[in-house]
């Protein structure tokens, strides 16, 4: 499944941009050639040389085979608009921002949401919890980045100094510098809003899923038995109820990953965050195939890999499943 996903992603990523019938390379070179006001007589020749370099002169199927072979080796080619940077270099700068933001918010939302859902069902008539859940459920249907905009609006009207966009304070000489504590503080402060907008919105879904599972689990025979044994409430909750309800949540996690990645990319764009989202937008606007392909492919690869990892972890969480099947 993993291999098929990767192959599909690379195929989609290869063919879609080529459907447009545009030639960004020639456009870029002609544009540059005109910039000085001086007409370079060798422009056509230059285009030809670059097309050869990028392999655009070969038949489509040869390009495709080369692309797939390269991609398997994680060679994503060179950017057209940021020549001569390679796509890998561009990604290396940006991917950590996205990865950290995505993983952190995902784990936070999953853990807090599941815990809330579990407690919600365990203490059925707890008004405090129910009141806290109502707004969280209401916003759980709203897209991340729309909620992000709402947060921006609110925060802007409370505190004009609070950073709304970018990943760290702009215009400081020497930044980004990860050994500077002030820089790290600035990064953390800038991360608050985007992280909040992702986490708060995703809480509701996990809580509802967990609550639904807890209902089923509570009706199981082993819960009755645990109660009959006189186990303390806490042990019953953590070792019996939550332990068994968590499994379907993990399945939900594998299904939600794709949506979450899309959401994080949009949030990054809204908040001007220095992850791959802004880079993707820029690449798409400038028709920079290799960069667009590279970013989409890496994100799809990451999602598929995470899905695979969760699938492989499943037997650890659920001893009933032995990994002898698929």
């Amino acid at each position: 499944m993993f291999v098929v996903t990767i192959w599909m992603a690379s195929t989609i990523v290869f063919f879609l941009p080529r459907l447009s019938g545009q030639n960004p390379l020639a456009e870029k070179i002609y544009q540059e050639a005109q910039q000085g006001g001086y007409q370079d007589p060798d422009v056509a020749e230059r285009v030809r040389v670059f097309e050869e370099k990028y392999g655009f002169d070969k038949p489509l199927w040869q390009q495709y085979v080369k692309f797939v072979v390269d991609v398997v080796q994680f060679d994503l080619g060179r950017s057209i608009f940021q020549w001569p940077k390679s796509v890998n270099e561009i990604l290396a700068e940006k991917i950590m921002w996205t990865l950290v933001m995505g993983l952190l918010t995902l784990v936070l939302a999953f853990l807090i949401g599941s815990a809330m859902g579990a407690l919600l069902e365990w203490r059925r008539n707890n008004w405090g919890l129910m009141v806290a859940m109502a707004p969280i459920l209401a916003i759980s249907a709203v897209p991340f980045f729309i909620f992000g905009l709402v947060l921006q609006l609110i925060v802007f009207n409370i505190d004009r100094e609070f950073p709304l966009v970018y990943g760290f304070k702009q215009g400081v000489v020497g930044w980004p510098d990860w050994s500077d504590w002030e820089f790290i503080a600035s990064v953390l402060k800038h991360a608050i809003l985007p992280a909040l907008s992702i986490t708060l919105v995703s809480l509701g879904g996990w809580a509802m899923g967990m609550r639904g599972m807890m209902v089923t689990t509570k009706g199981e025979d082993y819960m009755v038995q645990a109660e009959a044994k006189g186990l303390p409430d806490r042990v019953m909750l953590t070792k019996y109820a939550i332990r068994n309800s968590l499994l379907p949540q993990v399945t939900g996690l594998t299904l939600a990953l794709g949506l979450i990645v899309s959401g994080v990319v949009l949030v990054e764009i809204v908040f001007g965050y220095p992850g791959v989202g802004g880079q993707l937008l820029q690449a798409v606007r400038s028709n920079d195939y290799p960069t667009t392909q590279g970013i989409v492919f890496v994100l799809a690869f990451g999602t598929a890999a995470a899905t695979l990892a969760l699938d492989l972890m499943y037997p650890l969480l659920d001893p009933r499943i032995k990994s002898d099947g698929t």
Binding site: P17, S20, A141, V142, V296
Partner: protein, 328 residues
């Protein structure tokens, strides 16, 4: 609660015993649906949100006539023009100036834009979801009914498409189809339909597999009903709640996707859909300009829309899984 439960089973199965023996559409269908709806609170709230949006749009279309500044068209056309054509106004918010929600950076009437934008965005969602669920359903039936290699192929394709972040693929499709000028509203709907089918296909396939083993299907098969007959007469009616639930979910997902694609500036930028309003807001960083009255209306409408769709689909889930009904 107990009371409600018994009346539920009465409403769904034996209710007609209490009525005079007369078959009548209202009694046969409408009354039980109504009785059931009264208890399905989620569904009521969701439908209510939709009705409110519908009323808002309908009444505005009827009574809100903003003559565009060129004075050329009035009525509905005038509204559409007011939503998309600059009214030679500065961005401002003054409800008594003739623009109830103010005007945006380009001097367009925000109220008109919202009124025109709601049906446009819904249209994208509904077209994409209809195609998605249609294709998904056909694939699901083929997979579950034919089985064997075809099932394996369809399942593999569906399962391996699901982890691919949809928005990114849509972005690629949208840019490659029409770079530069942007898409029209209907084109955007078709683009989104490209990825709207794996989800419904997966859900419906698993339901078909369950329903196929039911007694009444076995019965129909033994009495010689053709495969198509079984599918349409026996299975479809029982799949309807699932199909409807996945249609609503797909509509919500498609609107979400359209807003995402549009917010990147890849949608129909000339048509005042809710997504392109958001795009222009992000583009001009309206928050920092203090133009909250421009950003807020589309956001509020979207929140109502998404929460409404979510509740309707949760309510439909309850119809589809009677086990959920007991605990509300």
């Amino acid at each position: 609660m107990e009371q409600a439960q018994t009346s539920a089973s009465v409403a769904s199965m034996d209710w007609w015993r209490t009525l005079p023996d007369r078959s009548d559409f209202v009694r046969d269908r409408a009354v039980p649906i109504f009785r059931y709806l009264r208890r399905n609170r989620l569904m009521i709230i969701g439908l209510g949100a939709f009705a409110a949006l519908g009323l808002f749009v309908g009444i505005s279309y009827l009574f809100y006539s903003q003559v565009d500044l060129l004075g050329e068209e009035q009525g509905v056309n005038g509204l559409v023009r007011a939503a998309s054509v600059q009214a030679n106004q500065r961005p401002s918010w003054n409800p008594w100036s003739g623009f109830p929600l103010g005007t945006d950076v380009q001097g367009r009437d925000i109220y008109a834009a919202v009124v025109v934008g709601i049906p446009l965005s819904l249209r994208i969602g509904v077209i994409a979801a209809a195609i998605g669920v249609g294709v998904g359903m056909v694939l699901a039936f083929v997979a579950a009914y034919v089985g064997g290699v075809i099932d394996a192929v369809i399942r593999t394709i569906v399962d391996s498409l699901i982890p691919i972040p949809g928005l990114l693929v849509l972005v690629l499709v949208a840019t490659s189809l029409n770079p530069g000028q942007g898409l029209t509203v209907d084109q955007l709907a078709f683009v989104i339909a490209v990825l709207a089918w794996p989800g419904p296909a997966r859900v419906i396939r698993s339901q078909v597999l369950v329903i196929r083993e039911r007694g009444y299907v076995e019965m129909a098969r033994m009495s010689g009903t053709s495969a198509l007959g079984i599918i349409f007469k026996e299975m479809m009616p029982n799949l309807a709640p699932y199909a409807l639930a996945s249609f609503v979910a797909a509509t919500s997902g498609s609107i979400l996707a359209s807003i995402g694609v549009e917010s990147l500036g890849l949608g129909p930028l000339d048509s005042p859909t809710l997504g392109s309003m958001i795009y222009w807001n992000i583009f001009t960083s309206s928050v920092l300009l203090g133009l909250w009255y421009w950003l807020l209306p589309p956001i509020i409408v979207l929140i109502v829309l998404f929460v409404g769709l979510f509740m309707i689909s949760a309510g439909l889930d309850e119809v589809a899984n009677p086990r959920l009904r007991r605990r509300v």
